[in-house]
């Protein structure tokens, strides 16, 4: 094939990647975006096969069959819950491939230009780190490796030595075109990937994977420098940059910093993403999480409590409900007889916000509907949704009828902390599998959710 034509086709593939990525960041178009990107990839592969110095197809065919088969099977078989680790593994393979390409280029060619060797060294290093780091992340998520923060004694010093070693090896490689240098560099990279990811906690693995994904983009780009392919450079840079942005978005959503996540095992930040209380863990959500959860539900029940009154969030909750209704979500309110601090407390507030009476439901009327409710939004209520009234005979509120919010598919609780309500007792609801906690003043938190729903 004409190389100029090939060049243009590669450009088209790159444009497809760009468009695909753009579409991937909005729920409505994400699937189409992914397919667009896949199309771009197909195009790029076909061009490569037709063009270039491809002499023997056997090895390629073998690789594609083996890799493709494995990839397809994994992608089909793995359970939904295991997706993150699968992505980690795939990412590792990508990084490994980049390192191998660089190594192959080095071994297969003679008299390479200095700058090519430099990029080969970079590609090997980054690809190696991505490869081993991704598999450690995989292991942590798959519970093959402890989710805790594993370090080795004197790690700070050891890591620094290795970093220095990498530089030295790079210089050696470039200066002497030495094959052993390449192998050692690869080995050190692999070790670095392992020791840098091991100390990071399991809860932070998604961020690490996203970061490693960004790195694997950079690895691809450097491989592009090596084989002088604009397609690789563009796509690699694209993934590198967008991956970094995505990492940043994720880190922000957790109220963290990237540095904090990557280096926190060594002092520094000690924030944990889930609120720990003994061995029970409450899942913390961001307003954005809550917004998406609500926006894509079909039926939402709002349970107001005393906290709604304290925060004077009645207008905000009404606004949120209206927004959701406009998106076609069915929104009901569940009023517990003793919610608030006086009989009819919630009625007063909701009337003030002009919530129509016909969406307010009593305990008896709403309880049977929870199992078919997608999301229950509990705003500043506590005792009235405490399942121990149902289950725990020792509880002081045992026997009181409560709103069975825990029976809905998902529960979002908006309150400022895990502290108890009027009755002064702990609430197991907050530690349920299907409960998300939005820790915030109800008015502030909900208005952030409102903004977020608006921008969906």
């Amino acid at each position: 094939m004409n190389t100029t034509l090939a060049g243009f086709l590669y450009l088209i593939a790159a444009v497809l990647f760009i468009l695909g990525l753009k579409r991937l960041s909005s729920p409505a178009t994400a699937r189409a975006g992914n397919r667009l990107a896949a199309l771009g990839m197909l195009l790029a592969i076909v061009i490569t096969l037709l063009d270039r110095q491809v002499v023997s197809f056997a090895v390629i065919a073998a690789g594609i069959v083996v890799g493709g088969g494995l990839g397809a099977v994994l992608a089909k078989r793995v359970q939904m819950t295991a997706m993150p680790q699968l992505v980690a593994a795939f990412n590792g393979f990508g990084g490994g491939a980049s390192a191998l390409v660089a190594a192959g280029e080095f071994l297969g060619s003679e008299g390479l230009a200095t700058r090519t060797v430099v990029t080969i060294a970079l590609s090997t290093l980054i690809g190696g780190i991505t490869f081993s780091g991704s598999f450690v992340a995989f292991g942590k998520l798959q519970d093959l490796i402890s989710g805790g923060r594993v370090t080795y004694p004197g790690q700070a010093f050891g890591d620094a030595v290795m970093a220095a070693g990498v530089v030295a090896l790079g210089v050696w490689l470039v200066a002497a075109d030495s094959v052993p240098a390449l192998w050692i560099l690869l080995a050190v990279s692999l070790v670095l990937g392992i020791v840098r990811v091991l100390p990071i906690g399991g809860a932070d693995m998604p961020v690490v994977i996203s970061f490693l994904n960004s790195l694997s983009g950079v690895a691809a780009a450097t491989a592009g420098f090596v084989i002088e392919s604009n397609a690789l450079i563009i796509s690699g840079a694209l993934v590198g940059a967008s991956g970094l942005i995505l990492t940043n978005i994720m880190v922000k959503a957790m109220n963290r910093t990237l540095i904090g996540v990557l280096f926190m095992a060594f002092g520094g930040e000690g924030v944990v993403s889930a609120e720990d209380t003994g061995d029970k863990v409450a899942r913390r959500a961001s307003p954005d999480d809550v917004a998406v959860t609500l926006a894509y539900a079909k039926r939402v029940v709002i349970v107001p409590g005393y906290g709604l009154a304290v925060a004077q969030a009645q207008h905000t909750i009404r606004e949120l409900a209206t927004l959701l209704e406009h998106r076609g979500v069915e929104v009901h309110y569940a009023i517990h007889p003793v919610a608030g601090r006086m009989p009819g407390h919630m009625n007063v507030l909701l009337a003030e916000a002009d919530v129509p009476y016909d969406v307010l439901f009593d305990l008896e009327d709403i309880n049977p509907t929870f199992p078919r409710t997608d999301v229950t939004l509990v705003v500043g209520a506590n005792d009235v949704v405490n399942p121990s009234a149902r289950a725990d005979t020792t509880s002081p509120i045992y026997g009181m009828p409560i709103l069975d919010v825990d029976e809905s598919r998902m529960v979002v609780v908006v309150k400022r902390s895990l502290s108890p309500g009027f009755a002064g007792i702990d609430n197991p609801l907050f530690y349920n599998e299907n409960t998300l906690m939005l820790f915030a003043d109800a008015k502030k938190g909900l208005s952030e959710v409102v903004s977020s729903v608006k921008s969906l």
Binding site: V338, P343, A351, Y357
Partner: protein, 373 residues
């Protein structure tokens, strides 16, 4: 100018035409204000407060005989007005044209708030509006305290209290205020009126409009007022309203047609099918009532339904009612006086001309002339 403020002696009447606050302003613009002794007491204004503000306390004769008399209700029979003097108040001119003709004979130039055109500019002298506002508000309070039920919805540990259903008939000034007040208290409010513009106005207060199968009136042709409806429409109104009335806990009826008997909207039969404990407040009682069973000036129980025909509701918030009335009076005085406070009778002004019911010894308002001929 000399302004006289007589005490209102009609039973149940607690308002006064001027409050100390506005007397102070009038005195400052060199008017001489004569207040009949204890005229303001029932509204919460002592004689001392008036003298403080610059008024002179007088007997009833002096007050009525002033150059310009400001009253709330028409002068009672036998009162002596100054010939050539002026009189301002809610004189009910169209209810009793004969009395106006007699008033004219005294040589008094009389202005009736009822005759003020209902234009945007005239609103500041529109005492009908200000007093209807009080009536609408007070009617809801009476209804709420009389009702055996809560107005708002309450979800409590002792069961859920359903909100009261309140129906307002006639969405004029009083009706709209009643809607607003009942909504504030948390009731579920609906309303009915024959004017086309009313539906939007009712909805603008968050209440729902009861649609009845009639041709809505375009009141723009009749100065904003409704007109009597034809017999067949009347039948359809009664039939259309009955089910809504029956399922209401409280009905507040305010429908009126100026100078005419109040339209009948609630039949005795309908009342009888209402729930025990319901309340009807009939603000139209003084012109015959919107309810067949209303006894003007009385609260009666028909079966288990309470029907309030009291005509003194406005006087139950005498302080604010007088305050608003006094503002209307002062605003009117501004229209009829010139530089230095002298009475100039600005006849060019359509408000003054329109409000005038007797002048130069004869009735002045076209509608009165028509009624008397």
């Amino acid at each position: 100018m000399q302004i006289g403020v007589p005490r209102q002696d009609a039973p149940g009447e607690r308002r006064v035409a001027l409050t100390p606050e506005v007397v102070r302003k009038l005195a400052a613009s060199s008017h001489e204000v004569l207040i009949e002794s204890t005229a303001g007491l029932s509204a919460g204004y002592t004689d001392a407060a008036y003298t403080d503000a610059g008024a002179t306390i007088t007997g009833p004769e002096e007050a009525w005989a002033a150059e310009f008399v400001a009253t709330v209700l028409p002068p009672p029979p036998g009162v002596r007005l100054r010939p050539g003097g002026s009189l301002l108040g809610m004189l009910s001119p169209f209810d009793d044209p004969i009395r106006m003709a007699e008033l004219a004979k005294t040589g008094v130039t009389a202005f009736a708030f009822e005759a003020v055109p209902r234009t945007t500019r005239a609103q500041s002298v529109d005492a009908l509006s200000s007093q209807a506002t009080v009536a609408g508000y007070q009617a809801v309070l009476e209804a709420a305290s009389m009702s055996d039920r809560f107005f708002p919805m309450l979800t409590t540990a002792a069961g859920t209290i359903a909100p009261s259903k309140v129906l307002i008939l006639g969405a004029g000034v009083a009706g709209l205020q009643a809607i607003a007040t009942a909504r504030r208290l948390g009731a579920v409010v609906s309303a009915f009126d024959v004017r086309a513009a009313a539906a939007e106005q009712v909805q603008s207060l968050g209440a729902s409009f009861v649609a009845v199968d009639i041709e809505a009136q375009d009141a723009a042709t009749s100065g904003g007022y409704a007109q009597e409806v034809a017999a067949d429409e009347q039948a359809r109104i009664l039939a259309g309203l009955a089910p809504h009335i029956v399922k209401s806990d409280v009905v507040i009826a305010t429908a009126a047609i100026p100078g005419k008997k109040a339209p009948l909207l609630i039949t005795g039969e309908t009342v009888e099918s209402m729930r025990a404990g319901s309340v009807i407040i009939d603000l139209a009682a003084s012109t015959g009532g919107n309810c067949e069973l209303t006894q003007p000036g009385q609260t009666i129980r028909h079966g288990e339904v309470t029907i309030v025909g009291d005509t003194d509701l406005v006087s139950r918030t005498p302080g604010h009612a007088s305050q608003m009335y006094a503002k209307n009076v002062v605003n009117f005085l501004d229209l009829v006086t010139g530089e230095g406070g002298a009475l100039t009778h600005n006849w060019d002004d359509d408000i003054v001309a329109g409000a005038c019911v007797t002048r130069d010894g004869a009735v002045a308002h076209p509608r009165l002339k028509e009624a008397l001929s």
